[in-house]
Amino acid sequence: MMLERTHVQPLTVNSSRDEPSTDDASVAPKIRASGVNVSYSGRLAINNVNLDIKAKSVTALIGPSGCGKTTFLRCINRMNDLIEGCEVTGNITLDNEDVYGSDVDVVVLRRRIGMVFQKHNPFPKSIYENVAYGPRIHGQATKGDDLNQIVERSLVRAGLWDEVKDRLDAPATGLSGGQQQRLCIARAIAVEPDVILMDEPCSALDPIATARIEELIDDLKTKYTIVIVTHSMQQAARVSQRTAFFHLGELVEENEAKIIFTNPSDERTRAYVTGSIG
């Protein structure tokens, strides 16, 4: 099949040799993309991407600007549906269910696959309302107490609770950039998703706020499958277990983060991680 002709296949074999116990071939991937093409008004943005994403781990997508990593990320929760003229072909499955199937309700899909955006974008409402909005529209909590619990739990998990517990009714836009981004993460996990997609979540933050988010990502991977797009190779190296390198709309190579950054098999990956291109 097509899958066998890509770079992915031999490398997966490679990695399974390192961790034979957990990375067994029998463990089905959380998300599987096969032959994914995306075009914007006829212009091809990503070309034949095949990628398996493991459950409860962090997968980083790296690559130079315009390489299609964000486009690929937005295919997973069908955010690309909102862009006029965007066409997605190929197959993406979440727990072996076709994400683009005709019986899939995007509302349900996006509850299962949360997203954190490049620019922190809390709703211009109170901190409480930001977190409570998702559970409320999905009917996960109707009573005030249940909702309060969800809000507290989500904020605790996002590492924001201690900073905001005294001012839950304060406007979210009054928080610092890093706090706002953690609030967005709290908002995403409030609806109990399986997967969290993060689109360059630290690109607008200072190093200290970035470090806090990275710690948080490390904590969250025990519960969620995380896919993160990042410009920073250091960040990818720090937070991800597996790293995928995109270049010019193609998935060049995917492997354990360690291998990608120390001993990549493709020349383009080597050139990017050593800083000669990108």
Binding site: M79, V107, F117, N121, G134
Partner: protein
């Protein structure tokens, strides 16, 4: 450095030109306001004459016991006239008597009747009443008695003589003209008021607000948030933009043909007026609402979609609330334009002489700008100040609406 000097000179020149432009526009505005207020303030002041009306039983022709019907049947005109005659001791001929009665307003007998009906205990006494003077006396009294105004007046020398006698007798005062705010249109300037026109305008604006709010805002939300971008929506967009530039009288013709001609709705009704104004306001409301919706950051939509909100939830929980200040401003500006609009109302017959304020949407009604138009056309000189007065009332309403828009925007932008 010659370049720097030139550049500074250029900036200075531009600054002065800008100031001159502002000065010109402000002076036009000031001129307009001064002339309108200068003419119009007189509409809010009226002249009253004190007369002693003999309401004794034999004089008004009532028994000691009388019913309210009897009281309503009394000839208050002759009561007023005999009271006028007692003011002037001379013996008057027929023609002179008529000149004397001309000093008191045409509505004086009705004022007297209303007072007596409200206070029947006045019957049997001789009581002093302040009753509205005629428009000629009113103008003469307000003109400040300069040489020029004395020549302009329509009062005869004899009437001026009587007027002076009454004036020295402290029987003539100026007072606030409530009639102007509580009365409706009349052939007699001294009893004409803007209340009827205000009610008509209020009804028409209410209809217009309802229609343009629902239809306009929903259209804007649909086009901006739900409709696909294709030839068809582009075509709609171009047409809406064109409609905003269509002369308002065209909407009047459309209303005449469709609402009156086809649907057979009543002529001159404020309902139809409101519908026609809504047609005219819709493009404005749609365009400004769309601009307000476009101004909402796309990241908010992404945030809502990303958390699994449906399109309707995204739009009505997040986008519309954020766009609300802009939408409301658009609606109020549209309403203010509709309030000042005359031409489409002329086409559907809201230009008739309406002496009673409408009590429902289908009754014949007038509107403030139409009232201005009607009075401006009247031959009586006293209507000139009524016209300016009505314009002042209109301006006050427009000012209030704009103020309301500002307050709303401040409130929602917090």
């Amino acid at each position: 450095m010659p370049g720097v000097v030139d550049r500074h000179r250029g900036e200075e020149r531009f600054r002065r030109l800008g100031l001159a432009a502002i000065a010109i526009s402000m002076s036009f505005l000031a001129f307009f306001l001064v002339s309108i207020i200068g003419t119009g303030y007189g509409a809010f002041i009226q002249t009253a004459i004190k007369i002693d009306v003999d309401l004794t039983y034999q004089e008004v022709g009532l028994e000691e016991t009388f019913t309210p019907e009897d009281l309503a049947g009394v000839s208050y005109r002759s009561a007023v006239r005999s009271a006028m005659r007692t003011l002037i001791p001379e013996d008057l001929g027929r023609r002179e008597s008529r000149a004397l009665y001309g000093l008191i307003g045409a509505g004086a007998e009705f004022e007297l009747r209303d007072i007596v009906l409200a206070q029947p205990e006045l019957v049997g006494t001789i009581t002093s009443f302040w009753l509205t003077a005629s428009d000629d006396v009113d103008l003469y009294n307000k003109s400040g008695l300069t040489e020029a105004s004395a020549q302009q007046t329509r009062l005869t020398d004899k009437q001026i003589e009587w007027y002076s006698a009454l004036k020295t007798d402290d029987r003539i005062v100026k007072r606030f003209n409530w009639t102007f705010l509580t009365g409706s249109d009349s052939r007699d300037p001294e009893v004409a008021g803007v209340w009827g026109a205000m009610v008509g305008s209020f009804f028409a604006l209410g209809v217009c607000l309802l229609l343009s709010c629902f239809v306009g805002v929903l259209t804007a939300v649909y086009l901006e948030e739900f409709a696909a971008r294709n030839r068809w929506t582009q075509f709609l967009e171009i047409n809406i933009n064109n409609l905003a530039a269509v002369p308002s009288i065209t909407f009047g013709l459309l209303g005449l043909a469709i609402f009156l001609g086809f649907f057979g709705l009543p002529r001159s009704a404020s309902l139809v007026g409101g519908m026609v104004l809504a047609l005219m306001t819709l493009p404005t409301v749609i365009i400004s609402s769309r601009v307000a919706l476009q101004a909402v950051a796309p990241s908010i939509r992404e945030a809502a979609f990303g958390i699994g909100a449906s399109r309707v939830q995204t739009v009505f929980h997040h986008v519309v609330p954020l766009a609300l200040p802009g939408i409301l401003t658009g609606i109020i500006i549209g309403m203010a334009r509709a309030l000042g609009e005359t031409a489409p109302l002329l086409m559907i017959g809201m230009v008739a002489f309406i002496a009673d304020p409408p009590t429902n949407l289908t009754q014949p009604a007038s509107a403030l700008p139409v009232q201005v138009y009607l009075w401006a056309d009247s031959p009586e000189r006293a209507f000139a100040e009524k016209t300016a007065g009505a314009i002042l009332v209109l301006l006050v309403f427009l000012l209030m609406m704009n103020l309301f828009a500002v307050i709303l925007r401040r409130k929602f932008e917090k």
